[in-house]
Structures are given as C-alpha cells and as structure tokens.
Subunit: 535 residues, 2 copies
C-alpha cells in the first residue's frame, strides 16, 4: 500500500510536471496563502454555491447554480463572495487581449454620449413595445440643428436624427421614460443572460447579437472627445482592478474617426496621439496620488477585420507600417479579428502577410503577429486550422486558442517556444464555445505547460470588467488550480508581453513587489488556517 | 508560398501523426467511400441542419439546430438523414461499454412486464395531474391475489399493489387512460429533452433523474422470465445495428433476482446460466437465418456500485471470483460503477482491490480491471483523480475517461500501453458533461493516438439504441474525422476487447470482411462523387 501511494504520487508529479505553477519554488508565505484561499473556496463551495442550489430532485424552478456556472447569471453572487473580494486586490499583471472599443462600462459610455449635445440618435423603424428589445439605435455627431424631438412620438419618421439628450428626455413613459431609454441603450450595448443562455444559445446566434453591440457603440467611441474619455476610463478602471500594463487591440477597420466638427475625417495617427496624451495625463494623475508604481503603460496591437480581401488587406498593412514608423514604441503587434467560424481563414491572407513581413525586413522594423486563432469548437475546420497558420507565420501569442488543446504537436510547440495563449474564459462561455467553466479546456493547456494569460476580451459587452471575474471563474472551476497558479498566470502575462526587455524587467519587478505584499496581506488576514492542509 | 504550403502540410502531418486512422494504408475504395461520406455530410450540413435553423437574428423561437447538437432534440432529424441511414449498415465491431440493465427499448420492457400477470405496481403517494411527471412507479412480481384495482381511483391507498394489466386498463382518462399509463412508465424509464436541457440541466441534477430510471426498471429486469427476454432483445437489436460482439457490464449489486415464484432468491450464477442459454438460443436462430457470421458473442464485466464500504466490497470480489471459476469464458473483467462525482473514489478501495488481485494470483485466474474513471468535468477532483488509480491498478480500458484529455502523462501511457477509452458521447452529453458534440473532447483523444471505442452506455435511458447514433454524432462534429476514422474505431473496439487471442483474430477477420463489403456498397452507390476531393 505504501508502495502504491509512492507510485501514485510519482505518477501525479509526472503528469503535472509541465505545469508552469510548478516551475518555481514557493515561499512559506505563498504556500500558506494558497492554502487559505483553497479553504475559502471549499467553504464557499457549500455556503455560497450549494446553499443556493435547490438540491432536491423534482425542483425545476432554480437555475443551475455551481462554481464556474454561467457568468451572466452568477455575476451578482460572485461579487458577494469572500473569494472575489480577495481576488480584487491581487496584482493581475498585464491585460494582453482586450478590444479597446469594448472595454468601458456601457452606462459610462452612455453618460459620455449624453455629455455631448451634438450626439444624435435615430432608428430605422418605429419603436414598439415588442421591437425595443432588438431595435438597434444608431448614433452620429451632428452640428446642424434637427427638428425631430422624440423617437417615441407618433410623428417620428424613421431615419430622422434626434439629439440624444432630447431623445432621452422625451422617451415615452410607455417605454419606461428616460430610465427606459438608458436601459434600452445599455441592453443594445451588452449581452444579457436570456440572450446568451436562451434566445441565442449557440455560437453562431450569439455572435450576431455580439456584433450588433459594436454597431451601436462604434460611432460613439469614434467621436474624438468621447474616444479620449473612453481611453481614460479604460486605463483607470483597469489599474483599479490591479492591471499594471495593457496591450490593447485597436480596430483600425474604419479609416477615420469623427472630429469635434462632426466630420468623419480624423485619421489613425490622431487616434494614437490622443491615446498617448490621455495615457500621459492618466500617468500624472496616478503619480499625484502616489500610485505611480501601479501603472506601467499601454501599447497597441493593430487590428483589422477578417472580411478584407487579400488585396484590400495591403492598405491596412501599409497603414500599420506607417503608424509603427511614427509611433515605434506604441505599435507592437498586428492581428486580424472577427468571427473565425464565418470569416476568412488566415490561409487566405498568407500572401499579403508574407509580403508584410518582407516589407518590415526591408524597412528594418518589427511588428510581430499576435493572431486570434482557434476561437472555435470546430475540429479540422477553417477556424481550427488557423492555429497551424498562426504558428507557421510566427505568432508571438495566440488569441483564444480555444481548440488548441486538441493538437499534440501545437501544444508542444507552444510549450517549447513559449507561445502564450491569451485565454478569455468568460468571453468563451458567453459566446457559447463552452457552457460553463468546468467544461472549458483551460486546465488541459495548463497541464501541458502552455503559458497562459487570462484576458477579458470585450468586457463592455460581457460585464467582466477588469480581470478579477475571469480569475475568479478559473479558480473556482478546478481543484488543481490555486492562488499560486493565478500568480504564475499573472507573471506569465508580463513575461509574454511585447514590452522591450528593460521595460519587461521593470514591470516584473513592480509586480513581484506587489505580489509579495498581496501574499503577506492574505497570510495576515487568514494566518490561522494556514497550517491546515486543504484539498 | 510553395515553401509555406509544404511546411504547413508537414506541420499538420506531425500534429496528426498519432492518430490511429493514419496508421494503416487505405485502399482506393476506402478513400473513395470516405470522400463520398464527406460529401454527404457537407451537403446535409446545409440541407438538413442549416435549413432547419432559423438563421435570422432576432428570431428566438427556433431551437439551436446544428450538426452534433443535443441528441434528444435532434434524434428524429438525425434519423431522416442519408448519413444516418448509411451508418446503420456499417459493421460496428464490439460494444464494450453498456450496462446490461439499460440496453432495451423502454416500450419493450413495458411490453414484457404486461406479458406477466404476476407483475404488480404501486405508488407511495396518490397520483395527481401535476405529480405524474415525477411519480416513481414501483414494481414487484407477486403471486398472492390483490384486491386493489386501480392506481387512479379515489379509493387507492398508497402502498397497495395493483396487478399491472389492471392498473393499465383502469388508468383514468384524466391521466390519458391506458396510453397515458404507457407514457408515464416510459417517461419514468427514460430521460426526455426538457429534463436534460431545462429542468435538470447540470450533471448533478440529471444524475438524480438518471438514477431514478434504474429504480423503476430494476425489479422488472431482475424478474427471471423478463431477464431472459431482455437479454435476447438486447442481443438481437445490437446485432441488427451491426454490433458483432458485446462486453456487457452486469450490476451484481443486488444479490438475488426474483424467480417465477416471486421470491427474491435467484443467485448470481443462475443469472449467468440464463445469459448463456439465451445467447445460445439467439446464436441458433441467427444460424438458421444464415446470419451466423454476424455474431461473435457476449461476455460479462462484473460490476458493483461505488457506495460499498471497502470491507463490503470483499463480498463482491469473492463472488466475482466464484463466478469466474464457474464461468471462466464469460466473466472477463471487474468494474465499479455509479456517479463518480458523488460516490467513493477508487483510492478508497485500493486495499480490497489489491487483495482481489492477490487472491486471483493465488488461484491462477485473471479478472482484469476495466474501470470507469474520469466521467467528470472536474479538474483535480476525486472523480478526475480516479484516472490515476485506474491506470496504476492496471485497468485494461478506461470507461468514459472524459477528463483524460487534460492529462499529458496519462494520454501518453494510454497511447503507449494501448489502454483504450470507452467513449460514450451521447451519454456524456445527456448527463451534461458536455453541451453538444462539438464541445466534446473526443477529438483530443483521437489526435493523441489513444485507442477509442464508441459506446452507448445506457441506451434504454438515452434512446441511443445500437451504436449508429453515437457514430453519427461523432462523425458530424468533426471535419478531421471521416468514415475511415469510424472504421478504425470499430476495428479498435475488437482489438481492445478482452477476447482470447484466437477469438479476437476470428472476430477481426469477420469484421474486415463485412467492412470491405460495406465499403464496396458505398462506392457502388456513390461512385460518381468518389473522385471529387471534398473537405
């Protein structure tokens, strides 16, 4: 029996030997904090999750409550847990996968819009009590006066622009009045539980709603004054959540932003000048608050959408090169975005992408690929095959890599070459690649030694602002994963960032110092349980 | 570009090099048949699946229709496809994972019960229109007369036994009359779509309904005259579906069966004598029909339930040894069954299981372990850890192994030692380990070179009679998988059976001959498309 237990322990060690949370010796405090967190998780598995499940056979009224369950249904419960409150304070490292135009709370975006009287709104069809749940509002900054006063009056002619403030004030009480207006806009900017889990409960269906949220927000965010506020808010809320560095994907698909004059004429370089100015302003504010060490910076991955023709892509790669030349420290990567299952696969773009690499060599610049790939449940489909092309094209990281776990050779390559996966667990769940966290293949990647960074993807749409929610969902859905796993994930997010070596070194030092402080605070708060072996 | 495509092809080859469907050179006919099947699949992806999806954004009335979708919702649509009709004719090889007491169509089991006037039925609470959906009928063979005449009359006293035929005939029209009775019994024996996908939409919840079906069927199947009919029907329907050999798990948890006299006194050895006699009778019938070559035989994996105490388990291991000594060619394995997430893990039974091995050595017999393990979405939980113990205890195959894909070392061991996984895709989906086939981790096992046999598990409860449904769901959910993959899975089911070497050789020869016939028939029917490269 003793022999058996020895063999068992050795087999488990071999099986988990690739795991990156096992590569580093842990301090006594770290082990103690990890045990404390496991104990909280075990306690709350009963007191929060099991207690809220109507556990009796035959009761069909309760939703399905369990750790790692559907995020949109669980969110309020999650926020009440001790575990969540503890994780809020954890230094998260880098946010490596977020689409900048989907990073700010939808209510705040609406507030920004209402602060600008020139923002107008219109509808393509009259609003009815039933159509309001799917009616898509359209925005536009307009300087010319508009005569229309209400979207809900009988006299409203579809297509007429109404100033947003007036539209809100005059929103008919049958539609809930001004609060009804706010709810309508926020609902159009986000995915709600019934959409994700009932109405559009497949990847293909929910992607349609997902894309419609971008159609609503796009003009607002591309209005230069709002763009600046938006970036500031994104930085501020991210740093408040413990994120110290960001590599944001900016969608340069639209060639211009709307200026204060309402003209759609602001070129890409000005978007970046704004970004730099706002970042500097944010940095100064933090310094004044004595929080300078909490923020390393933000850089940009240039993206456009996978529906460009191969020839059309060249406009964007040239544009990207020009921006890289003007903002060498800001532009750090290139990617193609959109629904992989339905849009063009990477293989269609090999020609322009190889040309793009060649042009860079000639010009002596380097814009690494950081491709989305394998964001699919498909096996051997074009979206799944994107993984091969991403790796052959030399991608530095893989966005999503949801289907990577199926590919033995690619797992080995990612482990050996240090190609990190930007895993977006809540995004994957809401976009119906997985039904809940226990079904998510992330543990397979961790056990295979693939470096992983957790990412929020489009928190404005999903409601997973910051990184705490994604860390939480990952932590509660696995007994193997513990606080020290999350620590290694945070460390890896900086390690696999595209910072310059000296910047990276600096960012890692700042993180380690905050991590040690975090660990000490857990041990101080929960020291008494530290000696009991949980799990 | 040419160089790129060469590198790409080489990377894909490396990635898929472990796959067992790539280990064998294929004939021209096989390749042609595979292409034809891929073409049918591609055509039906549009004509059957896409055509039935209400693809418009905003339409929330249609269920989510796609290839590999929820089986219980899709079943009738699946049966209309060309692909299904083609797969029915495929020789499936061995059925290696099926619980004998859940293998026969529920309507047939009810028919068998109605053929025996001594079968009585009772209820523990009065039946109401609302309680009927969850009311559990209880059966018992009784020879004494009963005065009660109806379950639905006002005078029915809960607990009173009613003869089943009378109970059916007198079932009140408010409950649907005799047809309502049949529906009630069949519903209690099966899982329906609303139970799996709405009411009890988590593994824990649906397991309660799942277990309740066994509570209903258990006494009926353990009534000796029905037991014999049940086995015959299982053999007959399996062979009709192209299954040529079966390793059935029999649950010996109950120590006795009910005899014709209604006494619960028939010991395990008589169960097996019945099995042998019925099998022989079935074999003779097949021979008379000139179908002798379609059936190799049936053998038995002894199982009991994971809630036994470690000491209590020894009664069963001793019982298993005695049966092995009396029926050496029939008893070919030992397993523990039940809900892994909630019942005792293998590690609790190491002591009696090691003793069991030692006793076998002393007696010069061999009863290999064939353990259920990893039938869970858990990561590092006791159910997931069962995989380590199953392998350390020398399991010949793994039942389910749903969580195996997360374990790099265990995948390697299974590949290298030829430990096959008995994959039960439809069972996993209905029991909510996965929400649909595209989310099932089976492709990861195939790509890792783990031998796989597809199995139906409990088709009486799930409605996936035979193996065609499981083969279908696997085929439509992956572009990598093709007909030749299914062929290799069928071949592997025999290769990894526990037949004696000579028996195995014989079974494989019979299968290869039927496979070649099947391939030829596809080529003859679809030869014209054989030359077009699909996929």
């Amino acid at each position: 029996m003793e022999q058996y237990l020895q063999n068992r322990s050795s087999l488990i060690d071999q099986d988990l030997s690739f795991r990156r949370d096992r590569t580093k010796a842990n301090t006594v405090s770290e082990l103690s904090a990890d045990r404390a967190v496991r104990q909280i998780r075990a306690t709350e598995a009963d007191s929060v999750w099991l207690a809220n499940e109507s556990a009796y056979y035959g009761d069909d009224t309760s939703p399905c409550i369990f750790p790692g369950m559907q995020f949109l249904t669980a969110k309020s419960l999650i926020m009440q847990t001790k575990l969540f409150k503890l994780l809020v304070k954890m230094p998260k490292g880098a946010l490596l996968h977020a689409h900048l135009d989907a990073t700010v709370n939808a209510r705040l975006l609406l507030k920004f819009a209402l602060e600008h009287p020139c923002i107008h709104i219109r509808l393509s069809r009259p609003l009815t009590i039933t159509s309001i749940t799917t009616a898509i509002p359209e925005f536009r900054p307009l300087t010319a006066a508009s005569s229309a006063l209400s979207l809900t009056s009988d006299g409203y002619v579809p297509g007429e622009w109404v100033p947003i403030v007036k539209a809100r004030d005059s929103f008919h009480e049958n539609f809930g009045g001004p609060e009804g207006f706010d709810k309508w806009i926020v609902d159009a900017l986000m995915i709600n539980p019934s959409e994700a889990y009932e109405q559009y409960n497949t990847t293909n269906k929910i992607w349609r709603k997902f894309q419609s949220t971008f159609a609503v927000s796009s003009v607002l965010i591309r209005y230069k004054p709002i763009w600046r506020k938006y970036i500031y808010e994104f930085l501020s809320s991210s740093v408040d959540d413990g994120i110290s560095y960001i590599e944001a994907r900016i969608n340069f698909h639209y060639k211009h932003m709307f200026g204060e004059d309402g003209e759609e004429s602001v070129p890409h370089r000005e978007w970046l000048i704004d970004l730099e100015e706002v970042t500097e302003q944010f940095r100064q504010t933090l310094k004044q608050q004595g929080r300078g060490n909490e923020f390393v910076g933000i850089k940009v991955i240039y993206t456009t959408v996978r529906h460009a023709t191969p020839e059309g892509l060249e406009w964007y790669t040239e544009d990207c090169i020009q921006l890289k030349q003007e903002f060498p420290h800001l532009i750090i990567g290139f990617d193609l975005v959109g629904h992989e299952d339905s849009l063009k696969p990477l293989i269609d773009y090999i020609d322009p992408l190889l040309k793009f690499r060649k042009r860079q060599e000639e010009l002596g610049i380097d814009i690494p690929f950081v491709f989305h790939a394998g964001e699919t449940t498909g096996d051997g489909t074009k979206a799944d095959m994107n993984l091969y092309d991403a790796i052959l094209l030399g991608t530095k990281r893989i966005g999503h890599g949801f289907s990577l776990y199926k590919h033995p050779k690619l797992l080995q390559i990612c482990r050996e070459r240090g190609i990190a996966v930007e895993a977006c667990p809540i995004s994957n769940e809401i976009l119906r690649l997985t039904s809940s966290m226990p079904m998510h293949p992330l543990p397979a990647l961790l056990n295979q030694g693939v470096p992983v960074a957790l990412c929020s993807d489009d928190p404005a749409v999903f409601g997973n602002m910051g990184l705490t929610f994604d860390y939480f969902q990952v932590l509660v859905a696995s007994e193997t994963t513990g606080l020290l796993t999350l620590g290694q994930i945070a460390r890896d997010s900086l390690q696999h960032s595209l910072l310059e070596p000296a910047e990276k070194e600096h960012a890692l030092q700042l993180w380690e110092s905050r991590w040690n402080f975090f660990i000490r605070s857990i041990v101080e708060d929960h020291g008494s349980v530290g000696d009991q072996q949980v799990n």
